[in-house]
């Protein structure tokens, strides 16, 4: 009665074929990550030390550490966050909680999507025109960070909106029915439940900002600077640009130096991502509905 018909056999075979196909695709995804990490560790791991992280480059950047670049990246990312997070979160709150569905908000939506699609080198040139020249910030941390902020703004807006949208509408309606204003509702009920998602988005933005090179190389990141930045109007070195420089622009660099720089850079990004994932898991465990 349950003997396999020819059709059953064929279905089973096709099913197995697709399963294996999809499995292979998944494995393919992992391979580059593994190879990149393995190569970086194998070739650059030897140079990593406390000294490498916390001393200046020496001998025309062919030796020494990466401290100015590391510190510069922290500066740039921090200032970029200070600019993009308040702006992005506020815009997302407006779009999701206040704005209706009309031509105005649809244009804003379109603008955000397009902003996300602009190539980073175009952002870089915009940054030069707007912040370096027009606003007169010069090539500085401020100009570089603002350029990055504008570039990552869509990420913040979209991720914030998603987490706001994940708060059930019924909660808002219950609040409104009690006579709460929109702002009271947002502050008491919506934001406390969306904050995990918002922070996750912010951390992801950090990891993206860390690695960007093009937008900062014309606006604030320097090839080599013999001193540390003292404020936002100073130029600074940055890890991503430093990697580009030691890998391609400077003769006589030992092999393990660029790999070491790359390893530090990728470690920073992975660290951010891990924090983000751990954070999300922690908050999901505390989910209230």
């Amino acid at each position: 009665m349950f003997a396999e018909s020819a059709l059953n056999v064929r279905n089973k075979r096709v099913q197995n074929l697709f399963r294996i196909l999809f499995l292979m695709m998944t494995v393919l995804l992992i391979i580059p990550v593994v190879i990149i990490l393995a190569t970086l560790i194998a070739k650059g791991g030897s140079i990593i030390s406390i000294d490498f992280l916390f001393t200046d480059p020496t001998n025309g950047m062919t030796a020494g550490g990466i401290f100015p670049a590391l510190l510069g990246t922290v500066w740039i990312v921090a200032v970029a966050l200070l600019a993009s997070v308040p702006l992005g979160v506020a815009a997302a709150i407006y779009l999701n909680e206040y704005a209706g569905d009309n031509w105005f908000t649809r244009i804003i939506q379109l603008a955000i999507i397009n902003l996300a699609g602009v190539p980073s080198i175009v952002h870089a040139l915009f940054g030069v025109g707007a912040f370096v020249i027009f606003f007169g910030f010069g090539t500085s941390i401020l100009a570089a960070s603002l350029t990055l902020a504008i570039m990552t703004l869509p990420v913040v807006i979209v991720s914030t909106r998603e987490s706001l949208r994940a708060v059930p509408q019924a909660f808002r309606e219950a609040c409104w029915n009690m006579g709460a204003t929109r702002w009271q509702t947002i502050r008491r009920v919506v934001l406390p439940n969306a904050v995990s998602g918002i922070l996750t988005g912010v951390i992801l933005e950090v990891s993206r900002t860390t690695g960007e090179t093009a937008p900062i190389m014309f606006t604030g990141a320097a090839f080599f600077l013999p001193f540390l930045p003292q404020g936002v109007f100073d130029q600074t070195m940055a890890l991503s640009l430093h990697l580009f420089v030691v890998a391609t622009q400077v003769p006589g660099v030992p092999d393990n130096l660029p790999f070491g720089v790359a390893l530090v850079l990728i470690a920073m990004v992975l660290l951010m991502n891990s924090i983000s994932i751990a954070f999300r898991m922690y908050l999901r465990g505390k989910k209230k509905w």
């Binding site: 309606e173 219950a174 409104w176 009690m178 006579g179 009920v189 209230k288 509905w289």
Partner: protein, 271 residues
Amino acid sequence: MVDMNVNLAAADKIVDPAFAAPVKLGVSDLTIRYGGTAALSGVNLEVREHEIFGIIGPANAGKTSFLKTLNRMDTFNTNMSVEGEILFNGLNVQNLKNIYALRSRIGVVFPLPVGLPLTIYENVALSPRLRGIKRKSELDVIVERCLSRAALWDEVKDRLNSLGSLLSGGQQQRLTIARALSQEPDLLMLDEFSIAVDPVTTMRIEDVLKELKHDMTIILVTNLVQQARRLADRTAFFLEGECVEVGITEDLFTGEVKDQRTRDYVEGKFG
């Protein structure tokens, strides 16, 4: 015309002295549209103080839309337009500047309990906080009083700081009633509150409502006609966007109806 109204009022008085109570809510020629289609049209009715006013009718009759217009929740739906006059305590709600104050005086209980993602305590303390009450001792009193009136205090008094959403469905619904009571409402509107509640809890809530009636006016939307019969002093029958009939509840069940459709509905012949 004037004479007739006087006579009708007099007739009501004879049936039940409670109906001499002042009008809490007067609705005249109310029409609600979503886009072009009318969800409810030409509704005329009065809800008097300290009565339980039942609204029965099948799905899509316009019952929920009706409740939404009473506390101006229509402002959140640009597609929704309201014509006619709604007088709450003699004031036209359409012209009220401070609709937040209006909403805070009307408690609403939804079909499915909406426990806010807050602790039990904070669910009930939220409305007082919105009104600006900050002192813990004051809030404690309000929370205990409201939970007690909603017949929930004994079950939750030891875990006020656990999440409201962890309660059972019936408890959550009583929590939302407690939350509505924390608004110190003039008018309590319940929209099919027993849909997700077990029969025993339903009975407990019904007893609660009978008590609350002494302190406020209650509008009870229900699709259980027997529930309306048990609780409501007067009942309106809504059908397909029309208010077919408003009358003393018992009359609807004993055949004193003006419209055959009402009889058919309460006897379960359709709906």
